[in-house]
Symmetry: D3
Subunit: 311 residues, 6 copies
């Protein structure tokens, strides 16, 4: 039974993914856990009264209870005795409850790897290979964000792969771009996110790490390049160019880049990063918009309302 079947006054039994779980105390000192549960049909908030230990985010749970309605809002009264992590006999698959990139992650990784192997500059090839070797286990399924664009299993690769295709296309138009440098920058630009964000057991991002909040993925990413380059002996100039591309890829100080792009490949990287993220957000918002109508305001696009042309 999908979550969308929950109705006021009706009993419900079903499965869902724990999206977040917070242990709290009522003003009177009694413990409870506040849950946000989700499946592909939607999500619902409910409280587990008197519980002291939370089932962590990323767990698939089986639960039962009853819908209720207060002031026109649907609520769910969880049966505290019928709420538990799924077990093998439940025979449900986590993957069916997770937002996931549209292409298989292995295919995307293969495309990235092939791009690297085709680089004619041995230094960039070696450096990107070393960094991919270090990270690729993690990178394979890493989301690109917690709630914004590409917050999905494999989202980081999804983002990188789209940008890589666009970068290749632009190299055909602007002949002075150096493809190896641009592709290396595209592949590495968000590597720091893998240290910046924390994943729950399902693989979705559930928060930021201490290094993420104190140092940020931009510095962390550039640092990772600097250290790998030193380790494998990349010429300092090339390490510096790539570090600059990472530092500059958010485009301006207010968005976290301490300096603007100072050469064409850095400019193209910043431009494609922004464009790819915005097109993702637009696509997501327009999917739920009727032809000839406007979307809700999209937080990730400065609260723009988007238009879907009448068809």
């Amino acid at each position: 039974m999908p979550l969308s079947d929950i109705a006021p006054g009706a009993d419900f039994v079903g499965f869902a993914l724990v999206k977040s779980a917070e242990s709290k105390t009522t003003a009177s000192g009694k413990p409870f856990v506040a849950y946000l549960l989700q499946d592909r049909s939607g999500s619902i908030r409910t409280n587990h009264w008197d519980a002291t230990e939370a089932i962590p985010a990323g767990t698939l749970v089986k639960f039962a209870g009853k819908g209720e309605e207060y002031n026109g809002a649907l609520q769910f009264r969880l049966d505290p005795h019928r709420f538990r992590p799924v077990e093998p006999r439940d025979n449900v698959a986590l993957a069916d409850f997770l937002p996931t990139a549209p292409e298989p992650v292995e295919d995307m990784m293969a495309e990235v790897r092939a791009t690297v192997e085709a680089m004619s500059d041995p230094d960039y090839r070696a450096l990107v290979t070393a960094l991919l070797d270090d990270a690729s286990g993690t990178m394979l399924r890493f989301p690109a964000a917690q709630a914004m664009h590409h917050a999905e299993i494999g989202g980081l690769l999804h983002h990188v792969t789209s940008m890589l295709r666009a970068a290749k296309a632009l190299c055909g138009v602007y002949a002075d771009l150096r493809p190896d440098l641009l592709f290396a920058g595209v592949i590495l630009h968000d590597f720091g996110k893998m240290e910046e964000m924390e994943r729950d057991s399902a693989g979705l991002v559930c928060g930021y790490t201490a290094p993420g909040k104190l140092l940020g993925h931009i510095h962390l990413g550039a640092l990772r390049i600097a250290k790998a380059a030193e380790r494998i002996g990349t010429p300092p100039e090339k390490s510096m160019l790539l570090q600059h591309m990472v530092l500059a890829h958010h485009g301006c100080p207010e968005w976290g880049s301490p300096m603007p792009a100072r050469f064409p490949e850095a400019e193209v990287l910043a431009s494609l990063d922004l464009l790819d993220a915005r097109l993702f957000e637009m696509r997501a918002a327009l999917e739920h918009t009727a032809p000839g109508g406007f979307s809700e305001r999209v937080a990730a696009l400065d609260r723009r309302e988007l238009y879907r042309a009448g068809e």
Copy 2:
């Protein structure tokens, strides 16, 4: 003799293009004309004392005089009796004195026209065709700016053609983009510049028109689309989409766009417009920069210094 041969104390005779000419009066009430002369080797300022009538910008002139040096700066004392527009017998060609787009303007126009003819949507095809028919005589050689990116004969077409190629490339990556709408937007986005800017007789931009300063090329361009659409019966929705793309293509209010892009093609247009202009400026600045060094600050890129990697 090129302008770069002018030297202190030496006589000079040569040809140059009048880039600007201003009639002025000394504090004592005597008239003179201040000229900026240019050829492909450089430019020089000189005054025509006692002259009351200026030879207009865009004229090719023959002139003589002598180099002088004050305070370490080179000046030129124009011989007032040896300064005149060129005549047929001088046998010099204006084209040799003008910055010009790297591809023949006819080729670029043919590429634009072919793109339009290949559109599958008859409304966009008809509307863009009508606007090109109205404007193409003017558009063929129109620069895209007075001093910034693409300030060259055929610069507007140069800018449009690069963007069109990039737009085609991106349509292969982002499948939800509607090619006809995007290409129409790219072709028309700067049409208003042809009313906004004034050309000298050589075809370079020498200033802004009154409609340019009072209404701006964004409103002028959208207005032109509105009127042509009404005339030929384009469906109002399609005219509206294109007008929106023109209004939104500068990206934010501070840069002249009253609203942000509200659908993907408008976003791509704004992104490519900015990127194409910046890559042009970067290329121009890096041409004069030694490998491993930094350019001067580039006014058109928020005073960035650019880096040319060591080779």
Copy 3:
């Protein structure tokens, strides 16, 4: 019975205007319509459970139900069988439920028309007359906004008439202002709003149109002038001056004007537009403020608190 008589636990029967109506679905998939009902004594939200078709905004309804109180907030439980549009036999007048400009709309329109007829410049007279002829049916009762200043029947005329009187007063102080140009600008400056905003059947603004969100009333208004001027042969210079005044009347890019006022009449227009709107908001906020006290923060005035002097 006015809405302010609704009390917890008490039955209620009365009339109200539908201010907004949204068809929704509960999480369990059951349809309902969420209404905001208003009369001159206040407003109340209520839900029509199981309803699939909404009574549209702008309709006068008769309804019954019962007040309820949850958590200190008053709610209203609508009797789903006693909720319908008013019928002739109900003998209630829509006008009694609508915010309306303080002067009769016909008087204001007559004042505007008289101003136009008194213009000594035949071009401005003809152009403004033509635009008023096209629009005056619509303009007569059009509000000037959805929720901000002059959101009332006849609000656009109310705003224009106040500004016109102020403009006339200032022409007596600043002798270099050209009255006809200034008055024409005042009358036409918000014409685009009639295409930008959508009205419900009662005549109040209930949202924005697609052209409103994609093109904005500033461009739409200037476009309307451009087309009328072309049609009736207004000299291009005069059309351009008026278009500029419309484009510049919001004062700065952040507020939607792509360029600042470039001549005195455009500056006066922008100044009076802002002042008239602010004085309207101040008056509205201070009406509900006790002498010697401060108003709530006023959203339309950058969240200022206003002071009402002790009397």
Copy 4:
């Protein structure tokens, strides 16, 4: 002989006003005084070599010398022995060399005084009268600025009088404005300038005082009201309202107002202050602009170019 008669190579004898005089030393330690001299035909810079004592700004001088031209710029070589303050026998009047408000200062002051006497509120009448009595000797001829709007003898009164007329006109349109409060605010809003700016002996502003730079005319003006109100027993509420109007009259923090206008009269004051200053600047710039052309960029109007319509 007016300054505009100075020509290269020609001797010149004439009169001018010292606009500024700075004692300097050459790098080699020799003293000189750098002068800016002006009359109604223009101005010229010249140096008095070896002079150690400057003739102060505001002095009328008789001088002789010769025009010279370097690099196309006109210079003036002052004859050091023929440069002295005017004497009675020279028979020239300072007033002929000064920019001056268009109406007689006594007439403007009489209009201000009449406005005060006509106030029906005895508190505002008494307070403004007391402040005018303290200041009116100074105020009569005080300029409103050093270089911006109303930098002329009587400029402060010129500015106040225009605003007062506009304020009276608007009171006829917006019936909820309290005339006495508004007029008192208009008259007093720039009183602090009389402590903020320093005048030369001719009465033009030649710089800022220490209190001007450390405290500013806004605080100084409000302070003056606070002290006078305390002295003559104005009710604290009324003193507070007027102080608020002074504090808020620049409209926003960036322009020196720590808070926005919090009641209608303060809003009108801020609006009229800005409008009167801008119209002054526009008038000044357009006087030197040909019909159908644009002015130079006007520093005091955020570098706008202004348009003078073709006539």
Copy 5:
């Protein structure tokens, strides 16, 4: 019984401080008073139905009622017949319910006074003494804010004393600072707050006064110095320096300072004011943060999350 003992379904009797009390009317016209009650264990909101007169903020009350839970939130149903101000026989002390500075207010005042007495400049000593004499009764227990840093009994003195110690420490490092001027500025910089903010009967700030909102504590504080200086004959230069320090102490226009610091002591004052306030906020937020974790976003620190290092 502390407020934290309130539990759903359980009866409660206890004492608390009225933090705020607002008289309201239900939509049905019935009066009630909404209370926020607090003690050191926390706070709770409750409504006194049908009450027309509010027990004012700052009063200690005895009350009874019952905890309730709606939608997971704890509420409190006040027994309207068992709610009254405390009486002597209750034998509870207000001080036990108030946030209070960590050092005795008399000690802090003595430290301030000793600092003044040790000044070697008799003018600053006399002026600060006079202002302290006027204000010290009020100052002794005045909070420094309503909700931000130092919102506690004696908070103003707490803030001043910390800054004074820091100022003394810096005078040992930067030898060109004039101690007397700096200390006088530190002591007086927030004097205007005593007119800007209103206290409830318990001595906590419960709102802003009309002069506070219309004039602000910066102008009010400078004004107070100006008047005292005039009264006791402080040299105008010294009064001006101190007024400048007050005007400039918020650092920039957006934060209320019309001009930046123009001498070193004013700069140090602005720097220490900001630092002391921020360190207070950081300390308060980190107290409730576990080692190795981040605080909630802190409104008073631009919504920063703070890190408490793992220990």
Copy 6:
């Protein structure tokens, strides 16, 4: 003979430091080198005509020539045959021509070292010691800037030492500050400057390096800490805290810090860095200001004019 003795028409022979040297070409293609020469009495610009090789910045030179005056400005005509680097027999010392920190660099370094040795936390002690060991040869005489605050031999140590003293003083006032962490942050915060800036042979900063412009001293400094910490095994948490302090020490994105301070020591560091720099600039500007007067506008202080109180 000091540079201040150069006078128009007079011969001059003397010594100076080459502050900058740029090889240029006249428009006519002739090479020259433009020099800025300085000693403690001032500086002068001159050109070495026909020279193709520049004497590099940082060299002490002996030169002869003649003063000249054009348009009231002093110039210097360099005798091209009497211009050479100093030789031993000239018997002049470079140190007499250099701006230098007021305390001996060895004393300051000893103070820094002593502070480190006194740290009770062995991790911070070891890490700072390692970084000082790596850098101290360079650090000893490194300036803190090219033209702003502390642009002097030993300027970096001067800046660090002042801040360290102030940090110690504040630790006595704010008891929750961790001294070792704060002192380590102060010592290391500008370490990246040693890679960001290039020195001439005299030891003054003459420009930025490629890593300086592409990566910036903030990232470079944090990177250096990260690498040293990894090498010597500093606990990651402590490395992270120090990296954060470096990243955050400019206070806001516009000034290069990607995030704000997230714990008290980082806040104190940012505050002291700004204060120390500003006090340096104020001191420098006020030294040249007469009592009771204002300085020129100071570029490094947002163009403030500073006041020197009358004495």
